[in-house]
């Protein structure tokens, strides 16, 4: 016998995030690293950032830290927004 059931998932409350547009030109780009403190995350990302900075002809990368399990504090994001053009982040275990 046919039956109707209700969905268990509910509506999504927040709109999906859109990616920032890719930077077309690397020259002169200020590079930043948001290190989440996971083992070797800073080491790997800082190395990549330094390589990019050398190619871009820009100064030494800005490296900031955050707690792995919490969103980055507003002051960290604000500093990145104002001082860099490209951020390397996102390392898990």
């Amino acid at each position: 016998m046919s039956v109707q059931v209700m969905r268990p998932d509910g509506a999504i409350a927040e709109a999906g995030h859109t990616l920032a547009p890719a930077r077309r030109v690397l020259t002169g780009a200020r590079i930043g690293v948001l290190d989440n403190g996971k083992p070797n995350a800073g080491l790997l990302m800082t190395y990549v950032a330094e390589q990019l900075a050398e190619r871009a002809g820009s100064s030494k990368p800005l490296v900031l830290r955050k707690n792995a399990a919490h969103p980055a504090p507003d002051e960290v994001l604000d500093q990145l927004r104002s001082e860099v053009d490209l951020v390397i982040t996102g390392s898990a275990d």
Partner: protein
């Protein structure tokens, strides 16, 4: 009987994407329900009760507010946990309406900022949601606070914990490998609900110790499964609690690198009675464990470099390699309550770490 303000039409009235959208099934056999769950990425792998509008209506009976009220937004999917949607999942879990107030309160508690549900849902750690029930609702809704309180056999315990997990799976989107990165998972992620044995406790209720004085309350915590600590022989409290401290003192839990997080210590009635016979208050037990659950600093340094980013800043200034470092600080973060039946087995429940704090809230019963 149609509850005031909650008719079947109301329950089914919402638009696309809400729990009001109805799905047509050929029948409500387990096989058909499994197919529906699989096609939509829902469920915990176990059979569910079909969430028909009439069953959901029954779950919502008497709810004193709006069933469209959003109790919480649940990450990582950021699904809206309305009272209605929570009721759908409670039906699926096999809950009776008697336990629904606990489920509602637990969902509210999960949304507290200090709980950090986003991290708890997404981490590689095996953290599960422990639901501890306190007060009058235990008897009213048929929870088991005695023999086997953590285990199977009691519908209220089993289905309350399962409802919370289904809510986090279906609404929150915390699916293994997609939203939930837990490396191995653990059995407690199916269901993890027990009740405080208030009658057997020599101390004020746990909820009251956390400042919640309502007749009924619920605690949610992001924790590992219970680690047994048994002592069959001691006639004094100290040896019992030395063993408990030994179980706490483990390098492998997240409590190790993150001083400042919580431990739950659930004492069996007999161990708690021994402590009380020795004149110990709950605070005495906390202080004893704080003093005894320690590791030498050189052991910490070898296994948990301070630059990990989650250790307390003062750790960097410790220069005595033999200094004994506490597994948890302050002592009040050793959360002690009593549960279980006769027998001399207590348990230690490590937490996910300082990045999540347990929450205790009142349960409004209607």
């Amino acid at each position: 009987m149609t509850p005031q303000g909650t008719s079947q039409a109301d329950v089914a009235a919402a638009g696309v994407g809400d729990a009001g959208e109805l799905l047509d099934l050929s029948d409500e056999s387990p096989e058909t329900l499994y197919r529906m769950m699989s096609e939509n990425g829902w469920g915990d792998g176990l059979p569910v009760v079909a969430p028909t509008p009439s069953r959901v209506e029954g779950m919502l009976a008497g709810y004193p507010g709006s069933v469209d009220e959003v109790l919480a937004i649940l990450p990582p999917r950021f699904g809206s946990a309305t009272v209605r949607t929570v009721a759908v999942n409670a039906v699926m879990a096999g809950c009776t309406p008697d336990v629904f107030p606990v489920v509602v309160a637990a969902v509210r508690a999960l949304s507290h900022r200090e709980f950090n549900l986003r991290g708890v849902q997404a981490t590689t750690h095996s953290v599960a949601i422990m639901v501890a029930v306190h007060g009058d609702i235990i008897d009213q809704a048929g929870y088991n606070a005695g023999f086997g309180t953590f285990g199977p056999g009691c519908r209220a315990n089993a289905t309350t914990g399962r409802a919370i997990r289904l809510i986090l799976l279906n609404i929150g989107g915390g699916r293994p490998g997609d939203g939930d990165a837990s490396t191995q998972g653990q059995p407690a992620k199916y269901t993890y609900c027990f009740a405080e044995n208030t009658l057997a406790s020599p101390w004020p209720t746990y909820a009251r110790s956390r400042g919640v004085t309502s007749a009924s309350a619920v605690t949610v915590a992001g924790v590992e499964g219970p680690h047994n600590s048994h002592d069959m022989w001691s006639t004094r409290a100290a040896p019992i609690f030395e063993k408990i401290a030994s179980v706490m003192t483990t390098l492998g839990s997240n409590n190790a690198p993150m001083i400042g997080s919580e431990f739950f210590v659930v004492l069996c009635p007999e161990h708690a009675a021994q402590a009380a016979n020795d004149g110990w208050s709950r605070q005495d037990a906390q202080l004893f464990l704080y003093d005894h659950a320690r590791l030498p600093w050189r052991v910490w340094q070898r296994h948990h470099p301070t630059r990990f980013g989650l250790g307390a800043p003062w750790l960097a200034d410790i220069d005595d390699p033999d200094a004994l470092m506490p597994m948890v600080s302050p002592p009040e973060h050793i959360r002690i309550m009593v549960a279980g039946g006769p027998g001399k087995h207590s348990c230690v429940i490590p937490s996910w770490g300082i990045i999540s704090q347990s929450v205790t809230v009142p349960v409004e019963v209607w």
